[in-house]
């Protein structure tokens, strides 16, 4: 048994708590009606997912001119084509042929996302052809059509901008903000060598829980010593189970937020605090113990925004459904929470490492990636149970602690965006 160590507590803002530092959030118990109501979900689709910038991938997924992939966006009942044109520009289009509405790019099963490379898109139905910049280039038997001008029948474009190699789209006719304005100063302060950190493990799961109920578990560090208490001896430290775990630093900027915690790389722990496999491969939940060479001088700007000593990770939550977690040891992961219905989501987790140079580095990555799955599956099971509990409506107000500030903030922002949309559109 590991020697009990009292969990470290960290200074809070002058108001006495993190939550009161952001007075608009209040401290009252919150409602999760927004996570169980089909009507609220319909509003969210319009008010949030068709207005906010959404991350749909990274530039490394489009390595060559002519590379493309499709992205299912059930929340907007559409599919997108993300493509790097022959001019090298990245563009996004609705994946719909202008002729009779057939889905344009797909293989075998139109419900499954596809990827590949091509010089133009050709519809499987009647062979209409589109250039990669969306222009309709050819109509079979064009003379049979009535006064048709190909210039009016290009693919329907979607606003698309790139920040730090992350491809974002916006489904609004005219986005209210540019991507950089939307991301705001806290997020755009990040300048990370993403292009050097490209070895990728991509997980996805179809889970029966509301996207926010699910996301909430990935933006608080209150649950790990309990839900994941058996996973390794650090987590099962009786002092953590008795006294809990504290986040070092919280920060909110517009609709986005970050929580930062201390380091936990296993290399710093005594052997009795490890699962045996972790000692052999020098890796675990916090990733490989040995620092990766990010290929830059010093630490990347924008990380550890609280400038804390013993900093271990930042969990940046980019509204509405995207998160980037940076680890001090030189790797990162992303989460995406894509609503499929009011009580169902597609959860994506992608781990990125500096490409392994040898077998030992590769095995350290393998252990980190496998460990993440063990934790995430426990969350998946539990959050289906939470959804069921909420849907009973037996309880309608839920107290959130100061360590759950980020959950309270998401709840606040979602309600604010939906109220704003209602005022502008529904009640008029």
């Amino acid at each position: 048994m590991m020697k009990p160590v009292a969990p470290r507590q960290y200074p809070k803002p002058p108001e006495g708590t993190w939550t009161e530092h952001y007075p608009e959030l209040g401290t009252a118990p919150v409602s999760y009606e927004s996570s169980i109501s089909p009507e609220f979900y319909e509003l969210e689709r319009e008010a949030i997912f068709k207005r906010a910038w959404l991350n749909v991938g990274r530039v490394e997924q489009l390595r060559r001119n002519g590379s493309y992939y499709t992205k299912e966006l059930a929340v907007a009942k559409t599919s997108l084509i993300i493509v790097r044109g022959m001019d090298g520009e990245i563009r996004a289009f609705h994946n719909v042929c202008r002729h009779r509405g057939n889905r344009l790019a797909w293989n075998d099963d139109p419900r499954v996302e596809s990827k590949g490379g091509c010089r133009q898109f050709s519809c499987k139905y009647h062979g209409w052809k589109y250039d990669l910049d969306g222009k309709l280039s050819s109509i079979l038997q064009e003379g049979e059509f009535f006064g048709i001008d190909k210039a009016n029948y290009g693919l329907v474009p979607v606003h698309c901008e790139v920040w730090q190699g992350f491809i974002f789209i916006n489904l609004a006719k005219e986005p209210e903000q540019s991507l950089r304005e939307f991301l705001g100063p806290m997020i755009t302060a990040i300048d990370y060598p993403f292009h050097n950190v490209t070895e990728r493990f991509y997980y996805r799961g179809d889970i029966r829980s509301n996207w926010k109920v699910f996301l909430d578990a990935f933006q608080e560090f209150y649950h790990p010593p309990i839900l994941h208490g058996r996973q390794n001896p650090v987590m099962s430290n009786p002092e953590y189970q008795r006294m809990g775990f504290y986040t070092m630093h919280f920060q909110i900027d517009g609709p986005h937020r970050v929580g930062c915690t201390s380091g936990g790389a296993g290399g710093l722990l005594p052997p009795e605090a490890l699962n045996p496999i972790e000692g052999v491969f020098r890796s675990g939940l916090f990733g490989p113990w040995d620092h990766a060479d990010l290929g830059i001088e010093g630490s990347p700007p924008g990380l550890n925004p609280g400038k804390k000593k013993h900093w271990g990770l930042d969990s940046f939550q980019i509204f509405p459904n995207f998160a980037i977690v940076f680890w001090e040891t030189g790797w990162y992961l992303t989460y995406h929470y894509w609503p499929l219905a009011h009580n169902r989501l597609l959860f994506e987790a992608t781990l990125y490492f500096v490409p392994a140079r040898n077998v030992r580095e590769r095995l350290a990555h393998e252990l980190a990636a496998t460990t993440i799955k063990e934790y995430a599956l426990q969350d998946c099971g539990t959050l289906e149970a939470t959804q069921m509990g909420l849907e009973s409506r037996v309880v309608t107000r839920f107290p959130l602690g100061d360590q759950e500030l980020m959950c309270r903030h998401l709840n606040y922002v979602v309600n604010k965006w939906v109220d704003d949309y209602r005022r502008k559109h529904v009640e008029r």
Binding site: F201, R230, V359, R362, L363, L367, A369, K373, Q378, C380
Partner: protein
Amino acid sequence: MALLPPEFSDLEPFAKGWCLASEPERYAKRLASTMEELQALYDAVFPRTQAVMSYLEKFPLHELPDDALRLLHLLYSLIMVSFPVEIWRQPYLPDTGTASFELNDEPVP
């Protein structure tokens, strides 16, 4: 015919079942196995891990001969079974119901 390099003939009994190239195959194999089978793999491979890594380090990562590549896949399987053996005492992760979480893309090798 031997699947693994001769230096690791002691691991040969596990090669056919556990030298699996992808995580979904390894995860499915874990769920389809008994704890006795997982423990047997763990007990055989774990003590040989350092020797296997030293052997594999002789090759560039992207130029592993077939038998060495199978040995690497066997270590991936060791990692996969370490969770049931070291922590859960059952192949299936407790409290996960029917939730699924699948690896769709992974580095090769």
